[in-house]
Structures are given as structure tokens and as C-alpha cells.
Amino acid sequence: MSGPLRVAVYPEVACERMRPNQLSESIDFLSPDIVIATAPYHRSLLRRSTEYDVPVITPANQTGTWVHNVADPLLVAIGSTKDISSLADLEAADELNPDTETFLLSDLLTVDIDLTDLTTTLDGQADYEAALNSNDIAGSYTHLTMNAPPDYRNNWGDLTVQGVVPGADGTGVEKTTTITLLTLHRNGLVSSRDIDAGKFGLEALDEIGPNRADTLRDAGFTSKEDVANTPPHELQSMDGFGRKTAQKIHASATALEDGDVHRTSDATVPHADPVFIDIETDGLSPTIVWLIGVLDSASDRYLTFTTRDPDAKGKAVVNFMMWYTANASNRPIVAYHGQGFDFPVLKDHIQRHCSKYVDAWEDAWKFDPYWWAVKNNNAILPGRTNKLEDVAEGLGWETDDTGLTGGAVAHVMQRWLANPCEETEPDWEKHEAYCEDDVRSMAYVFDAIKDADRLGGIAITGDATESDEENVQTAQGTLSDF
């Protein structure tokens, strides 16, 4: 049995804007099993953009049925409701695996939200369901629609509907240059990951937008490597490249090439042995923090604080604080994106479930490597994006690509909380293992930052005044009064 299916979705605007080298680089990076183009006329463009033999499909003008990997299909694309009869044929011929979820992709369903009347309808539902019923379709399907965004997932009666196209909001106006990679799992789980078109090609470098990218290409630069191999003072000689910009560009190219962290300031990271954490919840505004993975670098122990009881939502948080205050209260808590997510969420839940620990939480030293490096301009992290998995990978961390995202995990948790039973129960061990991997990869990144050489003498700090103010804060020990 093969693993999950990787589907890359290329909206019209993204294809319009991307250069050929960006398109091919993106397909290589995403290594999809299937490519979907929202605009039919981009089909040949995308096929030409890769050397690999990846099928490119265009559901918008599809006729008939298309089955991926006839030997063990996971995804079937149809053009009209009439094609549902061929699903029945596949089922009858035992060609669809009854133990796994099958994904049915089409352009036939549209989510229509009317806020003035406070109604939402699934346009096309009646005909679609009628076709399923009249054909006696028996298997378990998730219905993928081109007319909803990838984070859309909802049950309409018996139909599980999942969106596919970034920026699709039913108005028909695509506004985004985002490409999405959907990972379709055999158990029905769908993870999606968005990546901006500008993360590929020369545009992936800091300070390079379409204009400067054109200038570079005209001057003969074809890759980031070319830029990394050219000293800043030469880059500076081109039109539109100032001294500071050239340095930033060069540093960003070098970081990507070297697979190293490049420091751009003198600010320090915490010296004391950090406590690395990662939390899992049921969404961005969580009702439960059900898992806190903790790597105590002082003892090198990995700990899991968890609750599997929907009626004991605070247990993990309570136990974590008990442990922290007893064993590690003078050491910094480190979380990637902690500033934006983990820290405020924990503060809120500590207040809710064990408010006696609020002071201890407030007093704790909290550090977010992402915030420190990217937002406060203290370092350039290698990696196509600043997401933890890309940075860790850029630094050489090897990991199994689970294709699971925080959003997907949240969905799993929401489903279980809505109806706790065997069918919805999450695979706890698996999630705990992924969490451990995330925590360890973050520790790896942190160590890389700590070890990085300072680029002595090159004060690359974009906007001097703002960064100075914030660098002063960080130099004071990265206390987190954010």
C-alpha cells in the first residue's frame, strides 16, 4: 500500500506571475504526485515546467472520469454528475479499496455564503447527491471541490466536502499568488500547506521582488547560487541595489546555500539551558491544550504532558506548570512562533485552569527563535521559508515528512471532541511522536543559531531606528514583554 498522495494546486494568478524557473523549482520542491491547474490553458505550461512525469489535470474543463494510479487509486476526478456512474463501475469491479477513503475531485460543488440572509448553501448539492444515490455508491468518499479554499472542510448531510484552491471564496475572483500542497491520507485526513509563489527562484531571496529579479536575470544571474557566489560590492553596482540591500541579498543567498544561520546583529540568545516546548491544540483559538512536548536540555530528558479526557481540558497545562515551577523555573522556555501562538495560548489556559501559576508564567523567561531572528532582524535562517520544518531541513535536520500540519491535527482533535468515540479517537502515540520530532528539530535550530558566527562589522539591520530599539530589548536578555 502506498503512502499519502501529494497534490499541488496552481491557481491562475500564480501561474501568470511565475517565471518558468520558478515553476520548475516549485514542482521539484513540492514533488507532487498530481498537479492541478485551475485555468485549463496553464496545463501545458505546467507540464513543460518539469522533467518528471507528473499528471497535470484541469477539473474546470474536465470531461469524463480520470483515475490516478489505476492500480491503487486514491483520487478520482470527474467532469459532470454523469461520470459518477463510472465510480459505480469501479466499485463493482473491486478497483477501489473499500478500506481507504477515496477522494472525488470536481468543479461541481460551490459553497455560497449569504451573510445578509444568514444562510449558507452548497450549490450543486442536490444533483450531486442524487447522482450518488441513484448509482448506489457505497464507499467512503471525501468530495474535493475547486470552489472552496484548502482550509475548508465541512459535512453537508452525508457529504464530506473539502476545498482545494487557495483564494477560492465563491466570488470567482482569484486574488492570490499562493500555491497549495495538499496531502491526502488514506484514512481520510487532509493536510494542506500554502506556499507563496515568491518563495521560488530569485524572488525567494530577501529584498528581491519582481523588478530586482528582472535586473538580476538580465545581468545573467540564473540561480541563488550565482548570487551567493557574487560579492556584495558587485551586486551593489547594479541599478536599484544599494549597499545595505546588496549585503542583505547576499547574506540571504549565502544562508540558503550554506545551510547555516547567518547572524546580522550582536544580540545574544539565552545562555541558560532552555526548556524547549511545542503545544498541540484544537485550533487557533483553542478550547484545549491537549499535548505539551517538552525537551529539558539541562537533563536531556523529553517529557510529554497530555490529556486525553475531554472533561479534563486543563490537565496537561496544570501538570506542565507544576513540573516547570518545581524543576526549571529559572530557565528560558523556548517555542518556535511562541510569541504569536504558544505563549499567549498558554497564558490564557493557565489563567483558566491553574491561575495560581499565572505569576510564575509571567515571570518565566520566554524566547521565540522565529521572532528573534526574523521579526527582530537578528539572523537569517536557511530554508525556503521561515517555517520550522523548512529551516530545520535547511540546516540538515532529517525528518519523515508526515505531511501533517497544525491545522490538520486541530481538525482531528475537533472531530474527537465533538463526538468522543472509537472512530474519532486520535492516534495519540503517533501525534506524540510527531510532537517530539518538532521539539527536537527546534532544539536543533536553536543550537545552530547559538553556534553561528557573528558577522562582525557588517551591521545589516534594514531599518536602523526600529531594529535598534528592538535590539536593545533583545540585548537585555530577551525578556518577553511583547
Binding site: 444568514l118 482550509d151 465541512n154 485550533g283 487557533l284 483559538s285 490564557d348 471532541l417 465533538a418 514583554d481
Partner: protein
């Protein structure tokens, strides 16, 4: 101070009659006068409501309303203070906070203002007051301009956080960081609360509910003070705005001198008077000199007579032109002196503005021509007289402008010069309207579901929604429907029993545009200057900002050059112009799918209704009109935009079918109007066309006169009239809101139907135009999508008469 000796007695006897007597080439401009009697003011000993340690630090006694408000607050009430400006409202809430702080050193407060400029002014005023009172408290502004390093300090340490509602909307997503402020919050102040109406008011009302909900989440229950100008419905408005109950304090105890108001009608412009001498009865308001230029002459005359004058006009350009005109009027003046006169408006640099303010105070200038920028707030000491070039739109503004005249408690003179439009002419017909206590109502409506749903989504992001939230977002079934819509849209998970949780992209609060009801927003960009305008809704862009339209914004005229739509952020492109024209846009309109919410049977077959409907509009052509002559200065030009469909609130009146022959019979058939050959009504019988003109006139008239009762602008509304509507199967006219989902304006017209209809009838009857089709002062509207066709004054009168006869039965 001026060193010349006044030649006339005007400065010593500042009265309308003396003005008339001394005015050069006087041409019977003084047509009426009215007087607002002086008031000595009512005072209270501060110690009656404040502890000695605070009372001792006050130099003066309190006004009675300040004392009343403090007493009510100490009783635990929420208080709405509805008194005039400069009546010391800031003192009320600042003193009260000082009191709270004495009782609880950890007490915090939120003082919320509608603009950043006001926030800055008030921050200083409040801190100065704390200083004078010897209270250990500070206030500081926290908004988009605050440096990020400063923000944590303000949240953690500053007793009073000053901000605005756009900010509060965003900050609610980070309520965890604000927990110290929220937990200890004992007072919320909503200043200039009357400004929260219409679309913006709706958003603010929901933000306030979300704020109170989060305060409740942190176990706080602060008192609320609404500080408002005089409006017709202060209690209702505050309660709609906040969801809390209020005690209203509106007996203004501040003193003022006697205010005499001269109604000064511009003389006939002999240049327009092509036939030589015409009789008084035949003069149409449009034939008179423009209010602005007459105001300039009056200003010059006053200023040259040692009467320091502040003249209000409607546009920035008007101030610049007015200053020049006053200067040349001084040149023509028999006194042969030099007039020191300056323009003032918000477009001038801060330095220039401070300069003019100072010159007013010190007497270094004789006159200032200004926009409503100097209506309130800024300290200029007081002038001897004010001149109003045109009615400023509301009674409250009118008295605010008038109130600038008079130093200390001395008597003052104001000169009101009407323009030719319907409202000004109405006031000229009925000056007592200004004195009436029944001031315009401010409208805040919460029924717009689109806006409601967006705020419910934000609330879920702030904290999952439960049964308890019916308190803020009820009734229960509305909240359930909103949750259900968002669930199906994939943005919420769960239900009210377990908790409905937000499940979308971070920070839905950033998707809220505080001035619009939909998210189809178009930027407005100027190619030859700056325009600092909030993005507008697509439908408004099509209607008012189509290519070729001439628009006024903040006193500056612009022409729309293009609309760019095929892109991520659509925008309207405008350029600054300066023409004496405006544009009329023609459209085809249909109203259908009516859903009645409420009806009233007026008897005799007449009924009025309010509810929802779909308005389909196609903007087809436009033409340019000359402001001075009132005629077209261009031919019809096409508009290339697709039609729009608006689902919104409306009110309508259904007339019995027998009205059609009755109107025909009532009108003299010699006065029937006929459609022209190239009109869209070509072929309609004159009788029928006349009846249609009556309905259309009634529709226009009511929209034009609604601002006399309600705080709204006619551009917030639209209308449609038909001798036979397919759904109501009767003659009908509709008045609808101009934004998706509605904002309560047409519903308010439904509520105030008789008053508005009466005023409309009065205006139509009294209009001196004598024309069959009416004129811009009675029936014609610059917003008419039908080229002001058909209109028939007598038919309109008859119809309104019949309606009112039954309505008031």
C-alpha cells in the same frame, strides 16, 4: 486691536436691525429674526458631590449638569451627558475617574474618541486636569501611531488608556495581553457618541458589545459615560450603541448670553434677471446671489465695523474664495478701510492653523472664514459675531456655530444666509424650526446581518461562543443562525452548548472595515494630490464614483477618471478639479423580492411598510450640470459598468388604486406634463405621466426633507416610485438604504413618516418657484436617476395631502 474708530454704531448695538440699517446698498435682505434668550447658568457647590480633597482643588463651582452627572455616576448608573459643547463634559468623567482612583488605586479606564486628533487634544486636557486636582493618575494614547516599545508600558501602567474603536476592534484579538487593563477597568468613556451612526455606528455598537463581553470574561463590569451633542434620542441612542441602560443628563447648566439671529436673504442677482425688473412673487431662490458671496459682503461689513467675525462655509475652497471675496467687498465698502481676513480649514498646516487661532484670540484679525473645523473644541476665545453661509445640516451644528459668538456671557449676533436648496429654504420659511427642542434623532441600527455575522465571528475568535453570549448577541435564534452559517462556511466548529469555536485564518478582526457593510471595497486614489479617504463599497463606487462623476470630499472637488477592477485591490482613480459643475447620474432601477417586517394601515387604502428588498440598479449615463445656471453643461455621456444588485432595508407606501384617477381629476389638465419624444416614458399619456410625477415628487421630497428629522445625509438613501408595482399591485414609492443589508435609515423614515411627510408638504406648498415641475428647492434632486422626470408639484401636494389626511386621522 484695531486702532480705527468705528464710523457706525454697529459695534455698540449689535443687532439685526442695526446691521440692516448700516449695510451698504441694503436690499431688504433681513427677512426675519429670532432670539435665543440668555441663560445665567446654574451652579452647584462641588462639595455637594465630591469629597473635600478633590473639591478644594477646583477653582470654580460646577455647572448643575456636571453635579447631576457626578451624582448619578456615584449612584452606580451609566450616564449619558447630552449638553452643548464647552459645557465641561470632559470634567465630568475625569473627575469621576479621579474619585474611583481614590477609592481603588488599581482602577483603570478606557477613554474612547472618534478621531486621533481629538485623542491628542484630550490626552493633554485630561492630564492637566489630573495635575490640577492633585490626583496621581496619568492618561496616554494607545493607537496605530503608538510606538511598539511604548505599548506594553501603557497596557501595564497607565491608568487611563485613550484610544478609538478601530483600535479596540483589533486589540480584542490580543485580549490576553490586555488582561491587566480589562480586569481593573472601572470606567469606559465614549466621547462624541452622537457621531456613531449609520454604517460606522453599527460597527462601533458591535465592537462595544465584544469589548463588554471580554471585560465580563475578566470579571469586570465598568460604568459607561456617553458624552454627546444634543440629539433627539440620547437615551435610545446610547442604549442601542452599548446594550446597557442609561440615565440621561441634559439640563444644560452652562451660561450663555442672548443670541440674536438675523435671517439674511441674498438679493436677486441682477445678472440673472434677464427680463429687467421682476416681481417679488416671481423670484425663484436660484435667481438670488449665492450665499457664499453675500456672506463675504456681510463679513466685510462687520469686520470693518470693529465686529470680529467668524464665518462658516461648507467647503475648503469656499473658505479660500470667501476670504478673497471679503477682501474685495471691503475694497468696495464706503469705509475705505483695509479688512484683515483669513481662511481656515483642516487642509492647512498645523502651523498655519495655530497662527490663525492665535490671531483670532488676540484680535489681530478682523475675520476668519472657516469650515466646520472651527465649530468645536479649539479654543479661540470667542468672537463678536458669526455668519453662516448656508445651513450646516443639523440643528446641533447650527447652534454650535452660532455659539462661537459672544465673549464670556455677553450677547451676540449671528447672521444666517440661506442657500437655494430645499432644507435652507424650509428653514427660511419656518425659522422656529431652529428653536425647537425636538432635535434630530441619531440612528444606530443593529439589524444588518452581514455586519452582525462578521462581529460574531470575531467574538468566537476572542473566546468560544456559548449560551451566555446570547446576552451580547441575541436573540438566541439569530446567534444560532450566525454560528450555523459560519460552520457551513468552514470558519467555526462546535455549537453554543459545547462552545462554538473559531476555526479560520488568524485575526478575523482585521477583515472588519469600520465604514462598510461588505468586503467588496474599492480604494480611492488621487493622481494629482492626496486624498485621505476610507475605501468605499463597490455599489457606492458605481453610483457616486463612476468614471466621469464629479464628487466633493472634505471640501475639495474631484473628477473620477477611471475604475480599475481586474486586480487584487480594485480602486477608483480621481483627480483634483475646480469647476462650477456637478454631475447627475441616470440609472434604471427595479425593486423586487419584498419581505415585509412591519406594516401600518393608515386607512382609506393607504399603508406604509418596512422590510427587506432587492434593488437592482444599472447606471447608464451621466451629464454635467452648471451649479450657477442650473442647466446642463454637457450632453449625456455613457457609463460602462455592469448592473449591481443590493439587498437592503427599505420602507414604502402603498396607495389605493383609485388614487390614479383622483390625482388626474385634481390636477388642472392644462397643467398636465408630457414626456418628451426621446424620453424613456415617450408614449405615456399626459394624465398618467402627471400622476407618476406626483409619486416621484413625493419620493424625492421625503428623501430631501428627512435630514430635518434624522441625522443622515440624502446620499445615504435612494428611492423609486411607480404607478403600478408588480408585487404590491398598487401605486407605490420606495425609500431604501444605500448599503448592503441596510443601516436603519429607511426604517427610521418609516418610524417618523408623518413628521417627514408634513415637512415635505410644507416645503412644496411654500416654494416660491411656482413651477409645475418644481425646482431644486422643492422637488428636484441632484441624485435623481431619472433626470428629474417626471415631477409635478400639484400632484405631489395632492398625494401627500391625502396620505396625511388619512395618517393623522
Amino acid at each position: 486691536m484695531s486702532s480705527h474708530t468705528p464710523r457706525y454704531a454697529l459695534a455698540d448695538s449689535l443687532e439685526p436691525e442695526t446691521l440692516a440699517q448700516t449695510f451698504p446698498d441694503y436690499d431688504d435682505q433681513l427677512v426675519a429674526r429670532t432670539v435665543q434668550e440668555a441663560s445665567d447658568g446654574l451652579f452647584e457647590d462641588p462639595e455637594s458631590v465630591l469629597p473635600a480633597n478633590l473639591a478644594d482643588n477646583l477653582d470654580n463651582d460646577l455647572y448643575s449638569h456636571q453635579a447631576d452627572a457626578l451624582a448619578a455616576l456615584q449612584d452606580g448608573d451609566n450616564v449619558t451627558v447630552a449638553t452643548s459643547t464647552s459645557s465641561g463634559k470632559t470634567w465630568i468623567y475625569t473627575l469621576y475617574f479621579a474619585l474611583l482612583k481614590q477609592q481603588n488605586p488599581d482602577a483603570r479606564a478606557l477613554f474612547l474618541y472618534p478621531t486621533k486628533a481629538l485623542s491628542t487634544d484630550q490626552e493633554k486636557a485630561v492630564n492637566d486636569l489630573f495635575n490640577d486636582l492633585g490626583v496621581d493618575a496619568t492618561a496616554e494614547t494607545y493607537d496605530g501611531d503608538t510606538k511598539s516599545g511604548r505599548k506594553p508600558i501603557i497596557r501595564d501602567k497607565k491608568d487611563v488608556v485613550i484610544s478609538n474603536f478601530a483600535g479596540i476592534n483589533e486589540y480584542l484579538s490580543n485580549h490576553v495581553k490586555w488582561n491587566d487593563v480589562y480586569e481593573n477597568c472601572e470606567l469606559i468613556v465614549i466621547d462624541e457618541s452622537h457621531t456613531y451612526t449609520g454604517v460606522h455606528g453599527m460597527h462601533v455598537a458591535w465592537v462595544i458589545r465584544r469589548l463588554r463581553r471580554m471585560l465580563n470574561h475578566y470579571d469586570a463590569d465598568p460604568q459607561i459615560v456617553c458624552s454627546t451633542a444634543t440629539i433627539g434620542n440620547p437615551k435610545e441612542h446610547s442604549e442601542s450603541l452599548t446594550g446597557a441602560e442609561f440615565t440621561v443628563i441634559d439640563n444644560d447648566g452652562s451660561p450663555h448670553g442672548q443670541r440674536e439671529i438675523a435671517f439674511w436673504q441674498p438679493p436677486v442677482d441682477k445678472e440673472n434677471d434677464g427680463h429687467g425688473y421682476i416681481s417679488e412673487d416671481e423670484v425663484v431662490p436660484d435667481m438670488r446671489k449665492r450665499a457664499g458671496s453675500e456672506a463675504a459682503r456681510v463679513t466685510a461689513h462687520l469686520g470693518l465695523n470693529d465686529v470680529q467675525t467668524l464665518t462658516f462655509t461648507r467647503s475648503r475652497q469656499g473658505t479660500e474664495i470667501g476670504a478673497k471675496q471679503a477682501g474685495s467687498a471691503a475694497g468696495d465698502h464706503p469705509s475705505d478701510e483695509y479688512l484683515r481676513v483669513k481662511p481656515y480649514h483642516a487642509g492647512l498646516s498645523k502651523k498655519k492653523r495655530r497662527g490663525v487661532e492665535h490671531q483670532l484670540k488676540s484680535g489681530e484679525t478682523d475675520a476668519v472664514i472657516t469650515t466646520n473645523a472651527l465649530e468645536l473644541g479649539i479654543d479661540i476665545g470667542g468672537v463678536d459675531a458669526t455668519v453662516l453661509a448656508g445651513y450646516p445640516g443639523t440643528r446641533q451644528s447650527f447652534w454650535q456655530q452660532v455659539g462661537r459668538a459672544g465673549r464670556g456671557g455677553s450677547d451676540s449676533l449671528s447672521v444666517f444666509i440661506p442657500r437655494s436648496d430645499a432644507i435652507d429654504q424650509y428653514i427660511l420659511d419656518d425659522p422656529d424650526y431652529l428653536l425647537s427642542d425636538d432635535v434630530e434623532d441619531a440612528v444606530v441600527d443593529l439589524e444588518n446581518n452581514a455586519v452582525y455575522a462578521r462581529h460574531v465571528l470575531c467574538a468566537a475568535n476572542e473566546s468560544p461562543l456559548t449560551e451566555d453570549d446570547v446576552e451580547w448577541f441575541g436573540p438566541r435564534d439569530r446567534l444560532e443562525r450566525a454560528v450555523s452559517v459560519w460552520q457551513d462556511a468552514g470558519r467555526m466548529v462546535g455549537d453554543l452548548d459545547r462552545g462554538a469555536q473559531y476555526n479560520g485564518a488568524p485575526r478575523p478582526q482585521s477583515d472588519i472595515s469600520m465604514y462598510a457593510t461588505t468586503d467588496e471595497l474599492y480604494d480611492v486614489r488621487c493622481t494629482n494630490g492626496d486624498i485621505d479617504m476610507e475605501p468605499i463599497e463597490k455599489k457606492r463606487a458605481y453610483r457616486d464614483y463612476h468614471p466621469g462623476a464629479l464628487v466633493m470630499y472634505d471640501g475639495q472637488q474631484y473628477e473620477v477618471t477611471d475604475i480599475h477592477e481586474d486586480r487584487y485591490q480594485p480602486y477608483v482613480e480621481v483627480q483634483r478639479v475646480n469647476t462650477r459643475e456637478y454631475t447627475i447620474t441616470l440609472s434604471d432601477k427595479r425593486v423586487h423580492d419584498l419581505e415585509v417586517k412591519e406594516s401600518r394601515d393608515l386607512g382609506g387604502g393607504f399603508s406604509i411598510h418596512k422590510g427587506m428588498g432587492t434593488v437592482d440598479v444599472a447606471y447608464t449615463q451621466y451629464k454635467r450640470m452648471d451649479i450657477d445656471g442650473g442647466h446642463a453643461s454637457s450632453g449625456m455621456m455613457p457609463i460602462d459598468l455592469p448592473p449591481v444588485s443590493l439587498r437592503t432595508q427599505l420602507m414604502w407606501i402603498e396607495l389605493p388604486n383609485r388614487m390614479l384617477p383622483e390625482v388626474e381629476a385634481a390636477v388642472n389638465d392644462e397643467e398636465y406634463i408630457e414626456p418628451s419624444e426621446d424620453s424613456e416614458f415617450a408614449g405615456m399619456s399626459p394624465a398618467r405621466f402627471t400622476v407618476a410625477g406626483g409619486l416621484h415628487g413625493a419620493e424625492h421630497g421625503m428623501i430631501k426633507m428627512a435630514p430635518l428629522e434624522l441625522r443622515l445625509d440624502n446620499s445615504d438613501m435612494g428611492g423609486l416610485s411607480m404607478p403600478m408595482h408588480p408585487e404590491t399591485e398598487s401605486p407605490v414609492w420606495f425609500i431604501h438604504d444605500a448599503v448592503e443589508g441596510g443601516v436603519g435609515f429607511s426604517y427610521s423614515i418609516y418610524e417618523n413618516f408623518e413628521e417627514i411627510a408634513l415637512k415635505t408638504l410644507a416645503r412644496v406648498e411654500h416654494c416660491s418657484c411656482g413651477r409645475v415641475e418644481g425646482c431644486p428647492s422643492c422637488l428636484m434632486s441632484s441624485q435623481c436617476g431619472n433626470n428629474n422626470e417626471p415631477l409635478h408639484r400639484e400632484a405631489t401636494q395632492f398625494i401627500l395631502d391625502q396620505v396625511l389626511y388619512h395618517a393623522t386621522d
